[in-house]
Symmetry: C2
Subunit: 207 residues, 2 copies
C-alpha cells in the first residue's frame, strides 16, 4: 500500500495508523470515508481532537480528566469525601461510575507497577495518594486495581505504605472474574463488587 | 458510558465514534490513548485530517484523489494512455497498483449502480468515462468492478454504452473468487487477474 497518489492522504493515513489497534487497511478505510463525507464533518473530527488535547486538564486532586482545575466528581459536595477508590485509569473510574453504587471519591493512579514496562511507583500518582490520605480526612481507601500480577503487586505496595495510616483498606469483592478487566465486567457484577468490598488483608490469605 | 467527566473528551469521543466500524468503547480507548501521548502527536493527527479534507482535490481526468488538478498517474508519461481500467473506488485502484502488473490509466467510477442505495448512473462518473473514450484515443477499457450483482449490472451498463465505440472491452480474469472484494485479494491472484483479462462478452455466456 505504497501507492497513495496524494501526500495529504498519505499523511493523514500515517497519523491514523499510529493509533493502537488500527492498521493501515483500517486507516485507509477511515481516510476514504472522511473524503466521501462533507468537509465540515471531517474538520469537526480533527478540531475536536486538537481542542481536547490542547485544553484538557487533569484534576489536581484525583488526576481525573477534567475541564477545570478540579474535576466534577471532586467538586460534587454530595459525594462522600471520606472514601477514596484507587483505580488504574479513567476507564475503570467510568466503569465504576456507571454502576451508580459508589458515592465516594477516586484517585486515578495512572497505571500499575510493571517492571517489564519500566513502570515503578514513581511513574504513578502514588505520592499524591499518600498525601491525600494524610491530609484529607480519609477514612477508607478502596484498592480497585486489576486482579493481575501487576495489580496485586501495586495493591501490596499501596497497602504497605497505608497500613499504619489508620485508614480502612478495602478491595473490590471478587465477584469480577480473576484476570478480567473492570471495564468489561457487567454492571450488576461490578456494582456488587464495590458494594461487598472486603478488608484488603482478607485477600492476602490464600484459601 | 454517560459518565465522561469532560465535555472536551466527550466531544472528541462522539466525533470518533461516528467513524464506520468504531464503537464507543473503541473511541474511548483511542481518546485516552491520545490524552496519554504528547500534545504534538495528537495535534498532528487532528491537523492531518483537517488539511487532507480541506485541500484534497480529485483528478479532473480520472477522479482519483490528487494533490493537483491531474493526478500523478494521469501525469505519468511512461504509462500506456491507450488503456483505461474502470474501478469502483480509490482502494481498488491502489490494490491494482500494488500488483505492478498494470501500466495503463484508470477511471474511478465513484461507486456502482445500486438502486437500493439510490445510486444510478448519474451518481457515478460514467458520463466522463464515455467522454474520455470518445476523445482520448483509448484502445481498451478494462471493466474491473466487483463481481457482485451490482458490479455485474454496472459492467453491463458500461458495456451497452461502449460496445459500439470501437474500443476493446475486457474484464479481469476470474482468478479472484466470485463475491470477494478486490482490495482483499492476495497480490498474486489479483496480478494474474489483470494480466489474463478476458473479452467482456465471454463473461456473458454462462457455462
Amino acid at each position: 500500500m505504497n501507492e497513495i497518489p496524494s501526500r495529504l492522504v498519505e499523511n493523514a493515513l500515517n497519523e491514523i495508523a499510529r493509533l493502537p489497534g488500527i492498521g493501515r487497511k483500517t486507516a485507509l478505510r477511515l481516510v476514504l470515508h472522511l473524503l466521501r463525507k462533507d468537509e465540515p464533518e471531517a474538520v469537526a473530527l480533527g478540531e475536536s481532537i486538537i481542542r481536547m488535547r490542547r485544553e484538557i486538564r487533569f484534576c489536581m486532586r484525583c488526576h481525573n480528566i477534567s475541564d477545570g482545575e478540579v474535576c466534577s466528581i471532586c467538586n460534587d459536595a454530595s459525594r462522600d469525601a471520606s472514601t477514596l477508590c484507587v483505580v488504574e485509569d479513567v476507564r475503570d473510574m467510568m466503569a465504576l461510575e456507571q454502576t451508580r453504587q459508589y458515592r465516594g471519591l477516586y484517585h486515578i493512579l495512572g497505571g500499575i507497577i510493571s517492571p517489564i514496562d519500566g513502570v515503578g511507583p514513581e511513574q504513578l500518582h502514588a505520592a499524591s495518594l499518600f498525601r491525600r490520605v494524610g491530609s484529607e480526612g480519609i477514612a477508607e481507601v478502596i484498592l480497585a486495581l486489576p486482579t493481575t500480577v501487576e495489580g496485586d503487586t501495586t495493591n501490596f505496595y499501596l497497602y504497605r505504605h497505608l497500613k499504619d495510616s489508620g485508614v480502612r483498606l478495602t478491595t473490590l469483592a471478587r465477584g469480577v472474574a480473576i484476570g478480567d478487566e473492570l471495564e468489561y465486567a457487567d454492571e450488576v457484577t461490578l456494582g456488587r463488587s464495590i458494594r461487598q468490598r472486603l478488608p484488603y488483608e482478607d485477600t492476602l490469605r490464600r484459601d
